[in-house]
Symmetry: C2
């Protein structure tokens, strides 16, 4: 599949009124080893299995291989996921020539909003809308794989 | 994909002269968790990613989902596999109305021969050719996932 170059941000304002599309997602992890992650995801009515390598030092670039699989297979495999299954709604918000994916988490991660921006290169410039909060790229706490083990609800308790 | 019902045996005689086909395989594991295994395999010129659930109590039946993927993806993902990559030649030997898959291991597992028989049900009868050795179904030492961590070469040293 190639590389994934991605920046992540917190969200601090009204993004929903700018969204042109949204869909519900569910995902879990079959594997969270030191070198790779194996994710099962349901996105709308479609299923996917994805392998991601560990991120490089700056946390921006990872290898990623994603394959569409039957929805039913994905539903069954989610039952095998060791840790919590993440549920969220993804909003697509176009700003300039980029589209931010803003995830509104549900369940044990309710209250958390994360915006992701996929780029062609690590130093590609992009517009920052006023609802965009601080950058958290490379902060492992905001990885979905981390959230499946340490949900946002537990953070306040620490 | 459904279920995999499989019996495994050691091999104690000449099976090669009865084989009608063989191909080289390479496989590694992205995940060996308590509930599932994620395997990357190259079989001849094709790549596959496979998810298997943990076996039931008798070790015969497991859930299995397998997807063909580009050969190059499989080659790249094998580099991410934490443990040893298994190399073997698989021989297909038809006996009566069944086909045994006999794996001749190479590298760190050289010297090991395992025959596998896929069945429609756990109590399905099958013919036993004279080269077939003792049954090792459910013996985790003969799982390829176990062999990737504890290769056959190390067994004699224990």
């Amino acid at each position: 599949m190639g590389y994934e170059i991605e920046r992540k941000f917190l969200v601090g304002g009204d993004f929903k009124s700018h969204a042109h599309f949204h869909y519900v997602m569910k995902q879990g992890y079959l594997s969270l080893s030191g070198t790779s992650v194996v994710r099962v995801r349901i996105k709308g009515e479609k299923g996917y299995i994805t392998v991601k390598s560990k991120a490089g030092e700056n946390g921006i670039t990872r290898r990623e291989w994603e394959y569409e699989i039957p929805l039913r297979d994905a539903e069954e495999m989610l039952l095998l996921c060791d840790e919590g299954v993440i549920e969220k709604t993804r909003y697509l918000v176009t700003v300039g020539r980029h589209t931010f994916e803003v995830d509104e988490f549900e369940g044990d991660n309710k209250g958390l909003l994360i915006a992701e921006l996929e780029l062609e290169s690590e130093d590609e410039p992009y517009e920052k809308p006023d609802w965009l909060g601080g950058e958290v790229t490379g902060d492992v706490r905001y990885y979905n794989s981390y959230l499946s083990i340490h949900p946002y609800r537990e953070w306040a308790e620490q």
